[in-house]
Structure formats: C-alpha cells, structure tokens
C-alpha cells in the first residue's frame, strides 16, 4: 500500500472521527433538545461517512478489487438519518419539550 493511499486513509479516518466526536460534543453541550438534534444527525452522520470512505479506500487498495459494499451503509445512513431526525423533532414538539431562549419562532404557524 503506497504512502499516499495510507495517508489518504489516515486523513479520512481522522476527519471522520473528528466529526463523530464533534457531533457527540454537540449532543452534550447544546442547550435544548431542538438544538441538540443538530449535532448527531448532521456531524455524526458525516463523520461515519468519512470513516466508511476510509474503509472503502483501504480495502480497495488492500485487495485490488473495488470494495463497494461499504457504500451500502453510507447510503442507508444518509437515507435514514433525516427521517430519524424528523421524527425525533416531531416527538419533541409533540411532547412540548423545554426550549431555550434562542430557539425561537414557530414558522409553521405563520
């Protein structure tokens, strides 16, 4: 495996892991459930995407055959993550979870 490929894999892994971590930090640090939704659903999904991309490159380089089945996970996550987020947001609204000051406006009522 060439240094370039290894470097690419390493970079993708670090980027992915970084985003994953950021997503979770957001989950802990943000102030109310509506803002906390952003962290995991966006950053973490992207982070996992990065790691899976690293896996794709790594196994393609290792075996010499294009390794595509990792794409399936990415595809799956990218399809489902918005739905999960949507449903959770719906749930939070239905349950009238507490809002902080900065979570303002209810555009659907306007």
């Amino acid at each position: 495996m060439s240094v370039w490929v290894e470097g690419l894999v390493a970079a993708l892994i670090l980027i992915g892991a970084g985003f994953t971590l950021v997503g979770s930090i957001g989950l802990v640090r943000l102030q109310d459930v509506y803002t906390r939704l952003h962290g995991p659903t966006k950053a973490t999904t992207l982070g996992v995407g990065g790691i899976i991309l690293a896996s794709l490159v790594f196994f393609t380089a290792q075996t010499g055959v294009l390794s595509v089945h990792e794409v399936l996970i990415t595809l799956f996550l990218f399809i489902t993550a918005p739905v999960s987020a949507h449903l959770l947001a719906k749930t939070a609204m239905h349950r009238q979870e507490k809002k902080v000051q900065s979570t303002r406006g209810e555009p659907w009522q306007q």
Binding site: L72, F76, T80, P82, V83, H86, L87, K90, R95
Partner: protein, 931 residues
C-alpha cells in the same frame, strides 16, 4: 416370519379404516372392521400345524431401539397362540354382535376403530418376545380400554368408570414397567426367551421380592384382583360388546396371561405361593359373594368374572404343574361362557331396556331362544357336568383338595373352594331363574320384548356350542390346544392329566356335587342372606377411591398454587434459586477458579464500554418505573454486549444479539402500550432482597464459571467442530455448521418450539379485549398524524435494501457469519418497519399476511430436508454438499444444509411476524369495532 407381523399389525393398521369409511353406512363399517380380523384369524389358523402339532416356536424381530434393549420382536408359542385365538375369534364374534347392538346414533366408526386398536394392543401383549415391547402394548391396552369404557362419553358414570380403570391399570402398568426393567437388568436382556430360561438367576437374586411384587401389581390391577377389583364393576358402563370382549376374554385376562408367561421365570418360590394363591383365594370368595347380591345383570357378571379370575390366579399360585394346566384350561372355558353371558345380558338389556334383575322376570315367554343360550352358558359357569366349566372346575377342586402347603390349615383351601363353588352355582341360578322364570313385571308386559335380529344371536350360539363341545368331547376339541398352551406356560414337560368327563367317584366329584346342591340351597333360601348382606358394613370402594383422588388433587393444587401464584417473579425465582445454590456450592468447592492460562490484556476502550454497560444496567433497575427509559437503558446494554462479542471475534453472536435486541424492543413497546401507568404495586422488601441475592449470586457465579472454564486447560468439544466443519459439513462458518448440520436435530426442535410458541401466542391474543389508552402516561393526548409521510416513503425504500441484506446473510451463512435465524429476524424487522410506518391495513393490502401456513411450511421444509436423507438410506438429517461451477458467478457450494437453513429462515420470519402483527392488530380490531 412375516405372518407374525401380519397377525399383530393387521388390526393395528385396520384401526384407521372404520373411521375413514364411516360415511359409507354402518354395514360397510362393520365389514371393513371384520375383514382384517378374519384375515388375521385365518393366518393364525394357518400356523396351527406348526405351533400346535409340531410344537414349533415362531419368532420374528426387527430392531426398534436396540440401544435400550427394545426390539419389535414377536413370538408365537402355544400360550400366545391360545390367547391370540381368543382375541381374534371372540373379537370377530363381538364385531358381529356389536354391529347389531349399537344404536343408529352411536358412532360406529369410532367404536370399531377403538375396538381394533384394543385388539392390536392385546395381540401385541400376548405375542411380544421382548419385555419392554410387552409393556408398551400393555399400556396401549390400558389406554384403548379407557377410551372404550368411556365410549358413551356423555354419561358421567362412563367417564368415571373409564377414569378409574385407567388410573388403576395405568398405575399397575408403571409398576410392571419397573418390575420388567429390574428383571431385564438382572438377566442382562429383555428378550423373553432369555428371561424365561433364567428363572433360577432371577429367583436367587436379592431383589427378587421387589421384582415379583412389582410384576404382581401389574397383574392384579389388570386382572381385577383384590384389593384392586373395584374398577371392574364400574367399567360396566361400557357398551355391552366392550364388556363381552374386554371383561371376559381379553383385557382382564392380560393379567393372568402375564402370570402364565412369567411362570417359568418367577414361580416356584414360597413368596409366589403365598402372595398369588392368597390373593387369588380372597378374590375368588369375595367376587362370588358380591356377585350373588348384584341386581345389575352386568354387575353380577362382573363380580363373577372377578371371582373366576381369582380362581385362575389361585391355580397359578398353587404352583403345581397340574394346577397351571387347570389354570390355562379355565382361561379358555371362562372366556367362552362369560363372553356369551355378557352378550345374552346385552340382548336382554337391548330388548327390555333394563338390566336390573328386580325389574325382569318370566322372559322365557318373549325370548325363548336367548333363554336357552343363557341357561346353557350359566350352567357352564356354575360347573354343571357335560359343560366346559365343569371340567376345569373339577381340575380346580382336585388341585385344591391336595394342596399340602398350608400346613395345619390344609382343610381351608378345599373348604373355601367348595363354598366359592356353591356361591357360583347360586348366582348362576339367580341369573337364569330371576330373569327368565317367575312372573312378568307389569312394565314388561306392556313393552312385549321380542327376540333380536337373527345375526345378533349367532355369536352367542357359536360360543355356547363351544361350551357344549368342549364339555362333551374335551380331548378332541381342546386337547391339542391345551397341551400346547400348557407346555409353553410350564416351559417343559407336561404332567399327567386326562381330559375326561368321568373320573370315577372321587373327592373332586364329591366337592362338585356339594357345590351344586349347596348352591341350589343357597339360592332357595337366599332371603336371609340378602337381609344379612344389607346389614353388612360395605366399604364403598369407588367412594374411597374418589376421595383418595380428590385428596391427591387437592394436595397437588395446593402445591401448584404455592409455586404458581400468578407472579412471574416467583416462577423465575423458583427456577433461579437452584441455579444460584449450585453456583455457590460449585464456587465453594473449587477455590482455584483462576487457572494457569494467562488473561487477555485489556484495552482502555473495552474498560470504558464495560463501565457504561454496568452503569446502564444499574440505571435500568433504578429507573424501572419509567418503563420507556428502562427500555432504552436495556438497549444500551444490548448494544455494548454486541460490541463485546465483536471485540472478542464472535460476529455470529453479535449479529444474533443485535437482531434479537430489536425484536425484543418492538415486542416490549407493543406490550407496554397496554400496561396501566398507575396503581402499580411495588415489590416488598423481602421480594427485593431475594431478587438481589439471586441476581448477585448468579451473576458472580456465571462470571467465575466463565473465568474458570477459560483459564483452565482441557480438551473441549470445540476442536472436533473446528476440525470437521469443512470436511464434514462443507461450511467454513463453524457456528452455522453446528446449527444446521452437527446439531441440526436440536435446531429442528427449536424451530418447532418457536412455531408452537407463535401459534400459542396467537391463540392467547385471539379475542383479547383491551382498553386503548386515550392519553399517554403523562396525560397528553396522542398525536394526530398516524403515519408521517416521510417515514412511509423512506421505509418503503429501506425494505428492498434490508431484504437484500437478509438474503445475502442467509446465503453466505454457511461459510461466513450469518445464517437462517439472523436473516429471518432481519426480514421480519424490515417488514415490521412497514407495519410501523404505514399501518396494518396498508401492509395487509400488499403483502400476503397469512403467517400460519408460512410457519408450518418452514418447519416442514426443515423436517423434509432431514427426511430426504432418510430416503437415500442415511440417518435422519445427514447433510451432503457439492461444489458447482457456474459461469460468471464462479465456483460455489451447494449443501443440503442450506435448504434446512432456508426452513429455519422461513419459520423465523413467519413466527416473528405472526406474534408482532397479532399484537399490533389488537388495537386495530378495537378501532374498527369502535367505528
């Protein structure tokens, strides 16, 4: 010797027929029943020259469970031949009789099916050449006679009588089984020939008394000997053909047959003599005494049967060779005259509508023919000369007269025998005189009974003719048969005896004469006796029996209510307590739980994950009142456990854990919806301490056990599986090969259990009415939007991906992590997602949702895959595999185990959906009804 198999198996196979042709008319049913019996009878008669004349022993055997000593082995010697003749001959007559006896409303198909089943069971008992096989057929006679006695299941008396007979004879059968096993272990073989030849070995064994008592328990319960005699009179609520067959010639004779069969192996000791002869003597007298006072015709005959069985038992007990011959002879004679008497009683009952002697009288005017037949048969029963009963009774008196074994009480046996003879004459006289002579009761005059159909009398005529023929020409008619049967019983040379009517003026003849005159005298002056008997304290045996049964049921009920008080916690704690105790004991006995294998180094991430899992588990307990939160905590634990499986290189386990996890979560949420949110009772302090103790000790115990197993070297079975997975099972995934190949039978059992559980849950939820909560636990109304559109659309897109994954995991399961179980769960989850997203109606409009046949098909497919190997001559579930080359795809492997796995897959999909969809539908039904 295939004839032997044919004789026993013909009635067994034919037992299916009467029910099948039931719609084709009563006559067809009777003919279809009679023909196989006739055929079997002809086959039996065909063996007469070799068995009776040449004294050959016919044998046939097929291994059944040879490891346990159980062989499908039959023998036909003189004794078996005699009994087979009685069973088939009288059976044939009973079928003819029964056809005319049964009412139009009775189910002839059921009756004759059961009769044939019973006949086959009896033939099996008498022809068995293997002790275990004998017990199998013995139990079959108990069960089939239970069904026959309770044939009129609408009558409480029939049900009660049947249950009593089954309880007693079934319990006796268990005792017999224990005795037989002891004998088999002593001799080292269950082969009858070997056992009969090892009499000395058995008799000298320390456990001989136990063996004898156990076998005798079987004999005495079956042959209605004191103190187990009381079931027989109550079995009289059976249809009369059943009584004529079971309670004269076959079922009750099974007991005395066993005495004859085991005579060479068990008889000849003082214990045998004391036990068998005294029980026989008591039964002989008691039966005869009770018979005299019965007002029910069949009751009289039942007690008379008990008495005659006691006579036969007594003869076997006397332990002389001549007595055994007399016993065998009386078996023949009693069967003929008692069967004909039962049939006559049935005719009287059939024509007059009553069996009560007090309501009968003067029937000679209406039933002259029946009267003649019944009179002759009764005389045979009483032991009048020129009839068969006289001959065997004469032999009995002779044996009783010179029994020297009771010491100074020598006079006792002949005296009591004569008294029993008198009583026998008296009740025979009562049977004839009270019924056919004297004034006609007014009720009968109006009724004007008439003779039954011609063919209904034929069986009686045949039997009565036999009584006469044997009585007049004994040596010609019955000589060879008796000789062959007695030889087989004694297992050696026959003693000197002569079958003649007149032996000169000797003691037995005088006893006979005394019995006859005394009997007439008793009958004439019976009034004081009846008065005496009425004042006699009579222990009501059935009531005592019923009380005993009720007491037993009450004790069992209390025990069950103690264990099973409806609280799940208590069941689980009962199960777990022994586990915990065993764990503690094991830990205490092996302090060296840390073995010599080095521990695997641990990384930081694993420690972290373990801490999280422990915290989540604790949180589950602390937050258990908030059910959903607890559920989420359990999910965290499950996830981390799956990750641990992966970390420790067990991807199959991880996949299984993950898929089971999600199904569990779905199931719990479906159930939680219906749980009340208020009014939950908190466990007591005691309950919680108990649970804490159990969980701590089991958790720590399992942990230490695992530590022990993994740190101690030792040969394990896993090396075998790893070595043989590819060469033996054709798969690289050892876990899957174990599941579908090495332990395929286990898996088949498990999916069967799964299918049964699914069907059971479905049945339990059927018609279950539950209140739908209108508010959520926090008092908010539910959201209006039933199926969010985004969810619907995306879920539909997910379905094909999930199905693809499931297929992939199913197909590659044999070589890589995966398999039918996981794939089935994934498919089910993907379909459940559609239910969640789009609702039951949407799914059921598009997906075939009849899951019952699917589950059945899955189990069948797995089972048939196993059977296919049987067809090819290999043991059940042998797998085979082949490597096949396909262009483009390349070389791949096909294994029959994959088909098996497909069956597993289908069962899992069907069962999971059956349960989840049914739970989900609970609310749908409600809503539809509400609308």
């Amino acid at each position: 010797m295939s004839v032997l198999f044919a004789i026993v198996l013909l009635p067994l196979i034919a037992a299916l027929l009467p029910r099948l042709v039931q719609s084709m008319g009563r006559s067809t049913v009777a003919i279809v029943t009679a023909l196989p019996v006739l055929l079997a009878l002809l086959l039996l008669l065909g063996t007469a020259p070799s068995v009776l004349v040449d004294g050959e022993l016919l044998q046939a055997a097929v291994p059944w469970l040879p490891q346990a000593g159980l062989m499908l082995a039959f023998r036909l010697d003189g004794l078996a031949w005699l009994f087979a003749l009685l069973i088939l001959g009288i059976g044939l007559l009973v079928i003819v009789y029964g056809h005319y006896y049964l009412e139009k409303s009775d189910s002839g198909g059921r009756f004759f099916s059961l009769l044939l089943l019973f006949m086959a069971a009896m033939l099996g008992v008498v022809c068995s050449d293997n002790l275990l096989l004998l017990v199998v057929f013995w139990e079959l006679t108990s069960i089939s006679s239970f069904l026959l006695i309770g044939y009129w299941s609408g009558q409480a008396a029939a049900r009660k009588g049947a249950r009593m007979a089954l309880t007693l004879t079934g319990a006796g059968g268990l005792a017999l089984l224990a005795g037989v096993i002891l004998i088999g272990q002593t001799v080292g073989s269950y082969d009858l020939g070997t056992v009969l030849a090892s009499g000395d070995l058995i008799r000298s064994h320390a456990l001989y008394p136990l063996m004898l008592v156990l076998v005798l328990l079987g004999v005495f319960t079956k042959s209605a000997q004191f103190p187990f005699h009381f079931w027989l009179p109550h079995a009289m609520s059976a249809p009369t053909p059943v009584s004529a067959y079971l309670h004269s010639a076959t079922m009750v004779k099974a007991g005395v047959f066993l005495l004859a069969r085991f005579y060479p192996a068990l008889a000849g000791t003082d214990l045998w003599f004391v036990l068998v002869s005294s029980i026989g003597l008591v039964t002989l007298l008691l039966g005869a005494w009770m018979a005299l006072f019965r007002h029910d015709l069949k009751g009289l005959l039942a007690y008379s049967t008990i008495s005659h069985l006691g006579l036969i038992t007594l003869l076997f007990g006397l332990s002389t060779r001549l007595a055994a011959v007399a016993a065998v002879f009386h078996v023949i004679n009693h069967a003929t005259f008692k069967a004909s008497l039962f049939m006559a009683a049935g005719i009287i009952d059939h024509e007059t509508g009553t069996r009560d002697i007090r309501k009968l009288g003067g029937l000679r005017r209406y039933l002259p023919h029946t009267m003649a037949l019944a009179t002759v048969a009764s005389m045979a029963m009483a032991g009048v000369p020129l009839l068969n009963g006289f001959l065997s009774k004469e032999m009995f008196f002779a044996e009783a007269a010179d029994t020297p074994l009771y010491g100074s009480l020598n006079w006792l046996v002949p005296t009591l025998a004569t008294i029993a003879g008198m009583l026998s004459v008296a009740y025979s006289l009562r049977f004839v005189h009270d019924v056919f002579f004297g004034p006609v009761p007014a009720a009968l005059v109006a009724h004007a009974p008439h003779e039954p159909r011609r063919l209904m009398r034929v069986p009686v005529e045949v039997l009565v003719l036999l009584c006469l023929a044997v009585g007049v020409f004994p040596a010609v008619v019955v000589g060879p048969l008796l000789a062959a049967a007695a030889t087989a019983t004694l297992g050696g040379e026959l003693p000197e005896y002569s079958l003649a009517i007149w032996h000169g003026l000797n003691v037995p003849f005088l006893m006979s004469l005394l019995a006859l005159t005394g009997g007439v005298a008793i009958y004439v002056w019976r009034a004081p006796l009846f008065a005496l008997q009425r004042r006699w304290p009579r222990p009501h045996a059935p009531a005592i029996f019923e009380q005993a049964v009720q007491a037993l049921v009450a004790v069992a009920g209390r025990f069950v209510r103690f264990i099973d008080n409806g609280a799940l916690q208590r069941y689980v704690s009962w199960l777990m307590l022994p586990v915990a105790l065993i764990m503690l004991a094991a830990m205490a006995s092996r302090p060296d739980w840390l073995g010599e294998h080095a521990l695997t180094p641990v990384d930081g991430l694993s420690i972290l994950a373990t801490i999280v899992a422990v915290l989540a588990a604790l949180a589950t307990v602390v937050l258990r009142r908030q059910r959903l939160v607890a559920l989420l905590m359990i999910s965290v634990v499950g996830l981390i456990v799956s990750l641990a499986f992966l970390r420790l290189s067990a991807p199959d386990l991880a996949l299984t854990q993950l898929s089971v996890e999600v199904v569990t979560v779905l199931l719990l949420m479906l159930a939680m919806y219906f749980l009340p949110s208020r009014g939950v009772i908190e466990s007591t302090w005691w309950d919680r301490s108990r649970d804490l103790f159990l969980s701590l000790s089991i958790g720590v115990g399992v942990g230490l056990l695992a530590l022990f197993a993994m740190t101690h070297p030792g040969a394990t079975i896993s090396t075998f599986f790893i070595d043989n997975s590819i060469p033996g099972g054709g798969g690289a995934n050892v876990v899957n090969v174990i599941l579908v190949d090495f332990r395929g039978f286990d898996t088949l059992g498990e999916i069967t259990v799964l299918a049964i559980a699914a069907a059971g849950i479905y049945a339990l939820l059927e018609n279950l009415g539950l209140c739908l909560p209108i508010y959520d636990p926090e008092g908010r109304p539910w959201a209006k939007d039933r199926s969010p559109l985004v969810l619907q659309m995306i879920s539909r897109a997910v379905l094909p991906i999930a199905l693809l994954v499931a297929m992939y995991i199913l197909v590659r399961g044999h070589n890589m992590p995966g398999g039918g179980f996981i794939a089935g769960l994934i498919t089910a989850v993907a379909l459940v997602l559609q239910y969640v997203a789009s609702g039951v109606h949407w799914v059921h409009a598009r997906v075939p949702h009849n899951y019952h046949p699917l589950v059945a098909f899955g189990v069948l497919l797995a089972g048939l895959t196993g059977l296919a190997s049987l067809l090819l001559g290999y043991p059940f579930l042998t797998s085979t595999f082949e490597y096949i080359y396909w262009p483009i795809v390349g070389k791949f492997e096909l294994a029959s185990a994959m088909l098996f796995d497909l069956g597993v897959y289908i069962t899992v999909v069907g069962a999971t959906l059956l349960i989840l969809a049914r739970l989900g539908k609970l609310s749908v039904v409600e809503q539809e009804e509400g609308n």
